[in-house]
Symmetry: C2
Subunit: 497 residues, 2 copies
């Protein structure tokens, strides 16, 4: 889920200096309107990795807005002054009143995260704490509070670099202590716990916005713009405003477009030149490994769910064939997913996929999948907004259940460029035996390239979990794509056995 926040987002100085004055003016105006109207209160959480710029972001907000109406709470997880009262007491006390804004650096997320990372709690206990958080935030939202949550993200390398830079400068060296270095060494634990925490608490009414913390200008502009958008939406009573308050069934979830416009699909390298010889060598080797892995004794107790999604003409079919070539035909099913039948439509959306969950020792290969809900059904408006908006969570739940019960879940997204797609479409039209593969629908889908692009990016952000990450494959070169798929399959299965 951090994919979109590891793209090296940047805003250059010129653009920053042009845009900031305008943003500040608008933020101030919005803030005064909040203060004057006294219709709702605003709670802003700034959380994230150490060195990600929490303090700087707080300072920026204080600089850009009127600090007299911006209450700052830096609550440490040590629970000082509680005198026997429950920990939430300190947050209740600090809640702003209607017309007030409060920024929390250190919030109700801090202690649950730290306790789990330090193994003072089990995952089950963390989930209990998450429940408490969800109910608390639900209450805030029901009471008309706008809750904005920012998570500042750094990769481990970036975090190390940042600490070193701070240490080098005598004026900032004090900001890096032994705990910071210790936490850096525990980076993986922090990230995987944070991922679970963020995903579980990213609700429709109070989603997390994950912000790459490296470039200060990008970070400030992102946070500032998001705060402004949310305030304006609520002040102007636009539908997105209501999303923030009460999550009505029919409102589309907020989709954050990065201020520098860089998405995870844009950042994907699509071309990977490879010779036919290299391909054939490697293909044979990987197919052999896949065959061995699925004949392993321990595989009898496991099963595989493999999801193939991708742009039209992205090469799903060819890739699937290279996988099945390596498998015992009695062991796998290829399940092509088309539009749901009437029988399917009469039942909850995931019903037809649950029916196809493989029993142990088997491999289910889905040629398109339950992700249709958040791709074609979303873009073509085949289901209501509420239908696809809640599908992310339902899909995560579904895959989590599969994984918890020992099923290996692999998910491939095959991406080609718009030009390559055109080339393939035209080729299909010209080659007689390929003509059946191209329909009017393909051309219509192509017209909606951008809408699909947005849907795919959101799908990746919201369903690429640690246990079932998306493997994104640049597939302009079919050979590369097929090898990447095989490699993904083989490595996932080998790792699980």
């Amino acid at each position: 889920m951090f994919e979109s926040a590891e793209l090296g987002h940047e805003i250059d100085k010129d653009r920053y200096e042009t845009e900031v004055p305008e943003l500040r003016t608008a933020l101030l105006a919005a803030q005064y309107e909040v203060v004057k109207k006294q219709a709702f209160s605003v709670v802003i959480l700034i959380a994230g990795v150490d060195g990600g710029g929490k303090g700087d972001t707080l300072n920026t907000l204080n600089e850009w807005m009127d600090p007299r109406h911006l209450q700052t709470n830096a609550i440490r997880p040590v629970n000082e002054g509680l005198e026997g009262r429950p920990p939430m007491w300190q947050f209740w006390r600090a809640l702003p009143k209607k017309g007030g804004l409060a920024v929390f650096v250190g919030s109700w997320y801090t202690a649950p995260l730290l306790r789990r990372v330090y193994r003072e709690t089990t995952t089950a206990e963390l989930d209990q704490e998450i429940d408490d958080i969800l109910r608390f935030e639900r209450m805030l939202i029901d009471e008309g509070t706008l809750v904005l949550k920012f998570w500042l993200h750094l990769t481990k390398a970036q975090q190390r670099k940042r600490f070193k830079k701070l240490e080098k400068d005598a004026r900032t060296a004090w900001r890096v202590g032994p705990t910071d270095w210790k936490h850096l060494a525990m980076y993986k634990k922090f990230q995987s716990t944070a991922q679970h925490l963020l995903r579980s608490t990213s609700t429709a009414a109070a989603p997390w916005l994950i912000v790459e913390g490296t470039d200060e200008r990008y970070r400030n502009l992102t946070v500032g713009t998001a705060v402004l958008t949310a305030l304006r939406a609520l002040l102007d009573g636009r539908p997105e405003g209501r999303v923030l308050r009460a999550a009505p069934v029919e409102a589309a979830p907020r989709t954050f477009v990065p201020v520098d416009g860089k998405t995870v699909l844009d950042a994907l390298e699509l071309d990977h030149p490879i010779t036919k010889d290299e391909y054939q060598d490697e293909l044979a080797r990987l197919q052999g490994r896949l065959n061995m892995a699925t004949r392993h004794k321990r595989f009898e107790k496991r099963s595989v769910v493999a999801v193939f999604e991708g742009a039209d003409a992205g090469g799903k079919g060819g890739a699937i064939r290279r996988v099945t070539q390596a498998l015992d035909a009695r062991k796998y099913d290829v399940i092509p997913i088309a539009a749901p039948s009437d029988e399917d439509k009469a039942r909850p959306y995931l019903w037809r996929f649950w029916r196809q969950v493989p029993q142990r020792g088997r491999i289910a290969i889905f040629d398109r999948s339950w992700y249709g809900r958040v791709l074609v059904e979303r873009v073509e408006e085949l289901c209501r907004v509420s239908g696809w908006a809640r599908a992310y969570g339902e899909i995560n739940d579904f895959e989590e259940q599969l994984i918890d019960h020992g099923i290996i879940v692999v998910k491939f997204w095959l991406q080609i460029s718009k030009d390559e797609q055109l080339r393939r479409f035209e080729e299909r039209q010209q080659v007689p035996y390929k003509q059946h593969k191209i329909t009017d629908e393909d051309w219509r889908n192509r017209d909606k390239w951008d809408a699909y692009h947005d849907a795919v990016c959101e799908m990746i952000d919201r369903t690429s979990t640690e246990a079932a990450p998306w493997t994104l494959i640049g597939a302009n070169n079919k050979y590369h794509a097929r090898l990447a798929v095989l490699r993904g399959m083989v490595e996932s299965i080998e790792a699980a056995l």
Copy 2:
């Protein structure tokens, strides 16, 4: 929360035989309409204690409705035939399609309950399973399924009696096995786990209906009527119907009125004759014990939140004075709760009560409390339906946090009869020094006696938790009421030290 299902509900034979034919006709008609319209599916869960009549209820539903359109699923927790698939697979498979009805005896609740009772899971793990259940049912409801959940309750004595009766008869003796007797011995564990499970999963869209299982006629009539009401509401598109589907913000939660009209307040004995001498002896003794308990060394690390609620003129003030007489004046605060100030109203509802959470070693006595939300604010329509409807959960969360952090929570409801209230009102008007205690508002409230009655019953059902149960006191005799309050305080504190 089982208070209302331990009142000895009964329906006599005549009434039963008069009402059943009509109910059956209406149920069948509703069922055919569901089948014909194919607009939604219906899932009915029948759960509860062994011997509570799950099988009989299932048979009755099959008898009263058309069994060809009523799919029955008796899923055992042994998870047969899963072959490595997640346990939920068996329930997904059994989901009815639109226009279909399915009854589950043995459901997604069975295994989590048993695992926890047998200590195979921790409470935190149970809470994780509860989360999964909540998300699953949320999905069902979002997909247009009507989810009806019945819990058949018996006291331990009733359960034993039932087993003995079954064993006596050769034709039914097989229905009682060693596991049943073993579970009877574990009654308390089962009840406390069930209580937590039911409370956590009693959502606005799919609440549990707890049914006293002793009287077969009462049980059948209650379940049949509830199924009919829910079906009709959804078929006729009445607001309550929507509650079942999607819980809109403004719909009132379903309040179940027992088919025999007997409520927990009606069942309360209000008169307890006691002589003044007896009273004074016992008062002195209890006050002494209370004083000792609060001076105990271990009390320094604890604190008390005492809630006093009751009918107008129920004697709260007098009872509170008898408590404070026993306490060191430096140790307690009496906090009278009036209508919220503007300052209070600008913040989430519970904010003003959180502020008053006592630090360790202290006693906070609330003369009226946060329960105003679900009493006066509900009845007088001072807040929106959504406001008080969600308050039950918020209040339970609040009290749970207090208790988890070692605070002793006691809650008293002082109930007097309508006649006794009139007598006291008139006395207050006649006695000069009592005149300030009676206002026009009291008389207005008295006019709404029945609305308050319903609100109180629902409050007790929904907020009388194992950790913070309501102590219901019949208070027609002031002496008795004061002693009962003191006894409640003393025993709770002594038990906690």
